[in-house]
């Protein structure tokens, strides 16, 4: 099945023609997560098994007796996608060793939203990464509990109004900075960590392909625009993803063997207001709060640049004296 017109003309070398995440799912109009999952699956290919946490993606894709999944897929609960993925990986390893399944490489992938990754699923994620399973974990970060009705998570950005961090007379909404899970993954010595966004489809698919080649743990933090939860127009999904990168709200980088590098780096950052102004969740922000968010972006980008410039890869460090 191929839903792209003129695919053979434009993209035969760039993307798998086959669809492993099919049309007909129940995602909202303009869902950035559905777009991300479709591209991620193309990059992973058919020899993939996905363990999915409870959340938007599970609900929109698997209403019995229908399924959108063209690859083997299992959902158990909310906080345990990484643990289920660990078991899938261990099961395949044992069965392959004992000759009960064909001796062929199959990539195990776990997927969860920001809540299932950064909040309730963080322990299982940490455990799986620490144990070193051959498992790619993908966080589909739409920056709040969208499936339950836009409640704040530790992925919600500073200043965003959600149903549990509402803007009001005495509050400007979310009062905390986004938890830096990619950094936590680097601290686990995960050999491949990256941030990605489906508004940069080739960059996203390249990162997934790299992660697929890692025979060990890997982590991709995928920015997933949510027009419904962000109170934005559904035709702005791709633009909003680009604006997040162009303003530095969501920098695209990867960490290979401990070595940081930007994969998409705007020559000059656009003012954050260009990104915020399209979204109802930021509508209430005063110029002071916007200035604070702008400062936070500079701090984070400079922090990243400092790592890119000064940190060595773990293998380089092995060879250095002192």
């Amino acid at each position: 099945m191929n839903t792209v017109s003129n695919f053979d003309l434009f993209a035969p070398r760039l993307a798998d023609k086959n669809e492993y995440f099919s049309q007909g799912h129940r995602a909202c109009q303009g869902c950035g997560e559905a777009l991300a999952v479709r591209l991620i699956c193309k990059a992973l290919g058919e020899d993939t098994i996905i363990s999915n946490a409870t959340g938007c993606m599970e609900i929109v894709s698997s209403m019995y007796p229908n399924t959108a999944w063209g690859v083997p897929w299992i959902h158990v609960a909310f906080e345990n996608a990484a643990a289920v993925g660990s078991g899938v990986e261990a099961g395949l390893k044992a069965l392959r060793r004992k000759g009960r399944i064909p001796d062929r490489y199959i990539k195990c992938v776990a997927m969860a939203g920001d809540g299932g990754t950064m909040d309730i699923g963080l322990q299982a994620l940490s455990g799986a990464m620490e144990r070193g399973h051959d498992l790619l974990f993908v966080c589909l970060d739409n920056e709040a509990y969208m499936n339950t009705g836009i409640q704040r998570s530790s992925g919600t950005p500073m200043g965003a109004s959600t149903t549990t961090s509402p803007a009001g007379k005495f509050s400007y909404g979310q009062k905390t900075w986004k938890k830096n899970v990619p950094e936590i993954m680097v601290a686990h010595r995960v050999p491949y960590v990256a941030t990605a966004c489906p508004s940069y489809p080739i960059d996203l698919m390249n990162k997934v392909k790299k992660a697929r080649e890692v025979k060990g743990p890997s982590y991709i933090h995928c920015f997933s625009v949510c027009p419904t939860g962000w109170r934005a127009a559904s035709d702005l999904t791709v633009s909003l993803g680009r604006l997040a990168v162009e303003t530095g709200m969501f920098p695209l980088y990867e960490v290979e063997d401990g070595k940081y590098s930007f994969t998409i780096q705007p020559e000059e950052l656009r003012p954050v207001e260009d990104y915020l102004k399209h979204q109802g969740r930021f509508r209430h922000l005063t110029s002071e709060t916007i200035a604070m968010i702008q400062d936070g972006i500079y701090q984070e980008i400079n922090n990243l640049q400092d790592k890119v410039d000064n940190l060595h890869s773990w293998s380089e460090l092995k060879q250095k004296k002192g």
Binding site: I74, V84, S86
Partner: protein, 392 residues
């Protein structure tokens, strides 16, 4: 011919699991399960079992990981106790709903509030309605035999359900008992070395597992789960018959001791059965015709067998090792009362809540319970349930 060895029961249970060609085990340490988890890791480290052993970071992840493994078609095992089982609670009904034949050993321990590491049944009772096959062992030999049987039962095509084997913590897990291990070649004959691949996660045949269901189909799924669990009794009996033919030891859902002409019956579940047997013998020696009924299979509850075992009784003295707070006493008591409600000749039924948080229950305690219940029954002053031996 297999020879008898003296061995700690937890170690023996792990040895038994080590004979079952388990593909994936995931364990998180908790007292008093820890000797099972440790010894199984020893068996794997020594290469005596070709098993992927995942040292998970919690019991929640233990049960989740064995689910993922079982999803691929692997034979999967875990073991836990008390708080660990409570942490698994969320996942247990999903295992049975997805028909994954996972086996678990529960080294029964009191559930916290206050913290207590010793034995009772308050950990398994909240899991009663999870849709699992739940069995109790009485001694080390049973812990070994039933650990092996559990894989055979779970993986049968007409069952495909998870099985929990309860082994009383400390009172059983930490006792050294004489144990007769079956020969490995006989175990291989009894238990196929590999699970039959049913619906499994593999790209060669793409499946979606764990889809969500709305009200149009949810009730039908719950009914189906109930039916398959009820029907599993037939398969359990067949597996036990086969075990008896091969290894000579007989297992029944309800077992009895000197019940033939007894009008007064004591009811136990788990390791206290052997102590209660001695108490019954002592009462018999004094000329009091009492008997003992032991429940081995808790889910599916063997209504038929239980009713048959107590049909001539005038007085039934149930013992419970957990409390249904604010309810009818203990969970076993409530089960039995409802099971006998429609019987024409119902015995008088009373309940003693005993052995909580490791409180020792001696032969003399069972004698006291029986004597008191008989006396109270004669005077018509019998209490429905009471906490036995509690300092007021």
């Amino acid at each position: 011919m297999a020879k008898r060895v003296g061995m700690e029961v937890a170690i023996a249970a792990a040895e038994a699991v080590g004979m079952c060609n388990v593909d994936v085990a995931a364990c998180y340490p908790i007292t008093p399960q820890s000797h099972i988890a440790e010894h199984l890791s020893d068996i794997v480290a020594d290469g005596r079992s070709d098993t992927e052993y995942i040292t998970v970071e919690s019991e929640h992840s233990a049960i989740s990981a064995v689910m993922g493994a079982s999803g691929t078609g692997a034979r999967a095992y875990t073991a836990t106790s008390s708080q660990g089982l409570m942490l698994m609670h969320e996942i247990l009904p999903i295992v049975s709903a997805m028909r994954l034949p996972i086996c678990i050993a529960v080294a029964n321990r009191a559930v916290s509030g206050p913290l207590n590491i010793l034995n009772d049944h308050s950990d398994i009772m909240p899991q009663r309605d999870a849709g699992w096959i739940v069995m109790f062992t009485e001694n080390g030999q049973e812990a070994v035999d039933m650990s092996i049987q559990s894989f055979k039962i779970a993986e049968r095509e007409d069952v495909m359900l998870p099985v929990a084997v309860n082994i009383d913590g400390f009172q059983l897990t930490h006792m050294v008992e004489p144990i007769e291990f079956p020969d490995q070649k006989d175990v291989n004959k009894f238990l196929p070395p590999a699970r039959k691949p049913y619906a499994t996660l593999h790209p060669d045949k793409v499946v979606t597992m764990g889809a969500f269901a709305m009200s149009d189909i949810f009730s039908e799924m719950m009914k189906a789960k109930n039916e398959v669990l009820k029907n599993s009794k037939k398969a359990i009996l067949e597996v036990w018959d086969e075990w008896e033919r091969m290894f000579g030891r007989r297992y029944r859902p309800i077992e009895t001791h000197r019940t033939d002409d007894a009008e007064v019956l004591l009811v136990t579940m788990g390791s206290m059965g052997e102590t209660a047997e001695i108490a019954v013998d002592e009462m018999r020696d004094k000329g009091v015709p009492v008997g003992l009924v032991k429940i081995r299979l808790w889910r599916p509850f063997p209504f038929e067998e239980f009713k048959d075992a107590v049909k001539k009784a005038k007085l039934l003295i149930v013992t419970d090792r957990a409390v249904s707070f604010g309810g009818p006493g203990g969970p076993v008591f409530s089960e039995i009362k409802s099971a006998l409600y429609h019987e024409k000749n119902r015995p008088v039924i009373c309940d003693y809540i005993i052995g909580l948080g490791g409180r020792d229950v001696a032969v003399s305690d069972f004698v006291t319970m029986m004597e008191q219940a008989i006396k109270d029954n004669e005077k018509d002053t019998i209490k429905e349930y009471e906490f036995y031996g509690v300092t007021e």
